[in-house]
């Protein structure tokens, strides 16, 4: 009997989780202390303490109003994206799935484009609209509508076919791309620039209500997804097998898709499109602690938060005073890693 020995590098979750949380604290501290403005370590930490008032005002401002909100937002968004990525890869039983596969990103981009192109002129005259945030609202609605459409296409009386959903997601993406192309054509240079920057993602717009929304979403998603961890494991064996094990497959699919759409919709409306986190982080999580969703889901959330923190630090500092969109950094970090994974996968199959 032929058997291929494979290196098992897994670490137990009891080691990984504390280690990960420790790393996260280190990253949070770094994110507070590092930035384009030169602020000493001690001053940065002091600025966080509310009753320390003997610091110059601009240091207080930079640490508490710029670095701290971004740090918190990065944690929540990174965790949500990675979590949704892990769930989508389980739902589609395909390690190459990413949260956008259900059409959320395409629809969100289209929503944002409509907001930028058609509402931007209004904004100049009515700045209030901008503070209400047409782009985030439209992005969220766009993402929700396209997910609904993809789900509707893929579902009939027999249930939801993930294969058809996948194809429908591709189709919606193509449709959205065409509409975006048309928008590009009729938009002026400025709207074009705005849109292209939005689609590269940025954590600069961190507001306290936004942070609250993001963390609430994360908490809800973590709780609900972890409850379904075992069912997702069973789902990996196949839909029929999961059904035989007592899993209500149709309701599971619907629940997971809706939750992911909501989660990704929130991230897209708060930060624009940040790619690669949902695709690559679950792979890292599987490599470290295994594909069992009971460990994969918390690990993905942790690693996603970590990676986005690091990416944001790089985005802020590497080309100062220019600030890179964080989506570019995640792509630069994520793409080579993903290629490496594919090469390894190829080696395994030959």
């Amino acid at each position: 009997m032929q058997s291929r020995r494979m290196q098992l590098q897994r670490l137990p979750i009891e080691t990984l989780l504390p280690l990960g949380i420790g790393l996260l604290f280190f990253a949070i501290t770094s994110s507070i202390v590092i930035g384009p403005m030169d602020i000493s370590f001690i001053d940065s930490i002091k600025a966080l303490i509310p009753w320390e008032t003997d610091l110059p005002a601009h240091i207080q401002l930079v640490v508490n109003q710029i670095r701290l909100p971004r740090t918190l937002l990065a944690i929540a968004i990174g965790a949500i994206l990675a979590l949704c990525g892990a769930v989508m890869q389980g739902l589609f039983r395909n390690p190459l799935a990413d949260p956008g596969i259900i059409g959320v990103s395409g629809g969100a981009a289209l929503g944002a484009a409509i907001a930028v192109v058609f509402f931007a002129p209004l904004v100049v005259n009515y700045p209030l609209i901008l503070t209400l945030g047409t782009v985030p609202v439209f992005a969220f609605i766009g993402g929700a509508l396209s997910t609904f459409f993809v789900y509707y296409l893929g579902t009939d009386k027999n249930g939801t076919s993930v294969t058809i959903m996948l194809l429908a997601g591709v189709a919606i993406g193509a449709l959205s791309g065409a509409a975006l192309g048309f928008m590009n054509f009729i938009a002026d240079d400025q709207a074009l620039r705005d849109l292209s920057l939005w689609s590269m993602g940025s954590l600069a717009g961190a507001t306290w209500p936004g942070i609250t929304l993001a963390f609430t979403t994360l908490a809800v998603l973590l709780w609900l997804f972890c409850r379904d961890a075992n069912a997702l494991n069973a789902f990996l064996l196949g839909e029929a097998e999961a059904k035989h094990m007592g899993v209500n497959v149709q309701m599971l699919k619907r629940r997971l898709i809706l939750l992911c759409a909501a989660g990704v919709g929130v991230t897209v409306s708060l930060t624009g499109i940040i790619g690669f986190v949902g695709l690559v982080i679950p792979h890292l999580g599987r490599m470290l602690s295994g594909p069992n969703h009971k460990t994969l889901l918390p690990m993905s959330a942790l690693l996603g938060a970590l990676i986005l923190l690091i990416a944001d630090m790089i985005a802020r500092v590497v080309l100062a005073p220019l600030e890179l969109p964080v989506g570019i950094v995640t792509a630069i970090l994520g793409a080579p890693f993903f290629i490496l994974l594919l090469v390894k996968q190829k080696g395994r199959m030959s």
Partner: protein, 289 residues
């Protein structure tokens, strides 16, 4: 025209006084640190000899500055912390500066956020000069600059009085492999063409820079084709242009091989000082007598 300028000057003098009272900061005028978030503003700062106050500029001003300045990026995606790390006193830009959260943070951090107009008319330009001069404490220099501009504009008008028929000038932007863009209304090219005393046949049907079909171009029957210097150097001569776009031969411009160039820097950042210079020069090119 003189009266209007005087009136504006008086209002501005008052404003400057008021500003000095309201914004009495501890730093003296001479060591002001200014970030320019627009090519138009950078151009005026240089023209007013206020460049010693400049500490950083935006991306569009890259070609206008002499020496190495930190680039703060695209003016609609400014990073608050990066800007504050340059310890500026003020940032000057158009009303399109953003994002709003950054501007709020800058104000909170004690940096003045000053918005100047971004209009396309000569009047707007003159006001803009006054606004920037007030912010850089160069109001005396502004007067002579504005006088210069007014003189050039007047010279064009005088020259036009000797002409009978206005010429139709079409500005083309040509990129390889894509249809050519024309300058419609609300573009700097359109303003320059009109300042130079010509008519832009695309202004009635096209807004901003848009691609139009060759047939539409022929229908406009331009007398002169206007290209940016960079476009011309990549194409060659008028004959090369006609080879690329053979339908143009059916226009007066094509028949008479009438081609003019404009310095590309006169077109970025809205109507600027260079634009006025080019308008004056082109006026003589269009109408040679």
């Amino acid at each position: 025209m003189e009266k209007n300028i005087n009136k504006t000057m008086n209002t501005m003098k008052l404003a400057v006084l008021a500003s000095a009272l309201i914004f009495s900061s501890s730093s003296s005028w001479a060591s002001e640190r200014i970030i320019s978030a627009g090519a138009a503003i950078t151009e005026i700062i240089y023209a007013l000899n206020a460049e010693s106050q400049l500490v950083a500029v935006d991306l569009t001003s890259k070609t206008l500055v002499k020496g190495a300045y930190p680039l703060v990026g695209y003016h609609r995606q400014l990073s608050a912390e990066s800007l504050m790390s340059l310890t500026p006193d003020r940032i000057i830009g158009s009303n399109e500066m953003g994002p709003i959260s950054t501007l709020k943070l800058l104000k909170q951090g004690g940096v003045d956020v000053d918005v100047v107009n971004s209009g396309e008319t000569v009047k707007d330009l003159l006001e803009r000069i006054d606004e920037v001069a007030a912010l850089t404490n160069k109001t005396p220099a502004a007067a002579s600059l504005k006088a210069e501009i007014s003189k050039k504009v007047d010279a064009i008008q005088t020259h036009l009085l000797t002409q009978s028929t206005p010429k139709k000038v079409l500005f083309l932007m040509i990129h390889d492999g894509r249809p050519a863009n024309v300058a419609g209304r609300n573009t700097t090219a359109d303003t320059v063409i009109r300042l130079a005393g010509a008519i832009n046949p695309a202004a009635s049907t096209v807004e901003a820079y848009k691609p139009i079909s060759a047939e539409a171009m022929v229908q406009m029957q331009p007398d002169i084709i206007l290209l940016s210097g960079r476009t011309l150097s990549s194409i060659g001569t008028i004959d090369d242009l006609l080879k690329k776009m053979p339908l143009l031969a059916a226009t007066p411009a094509g028949k008479n091989k009438a081609l003019a160039t404009i310095d590309g820097t006169a077109l970025i950042g809205g109507l600027g000082l260079k634009s006025i210079d080019e308008a004056e020069r082109l006026n003589k090119v269009f109408y040679q007598d």
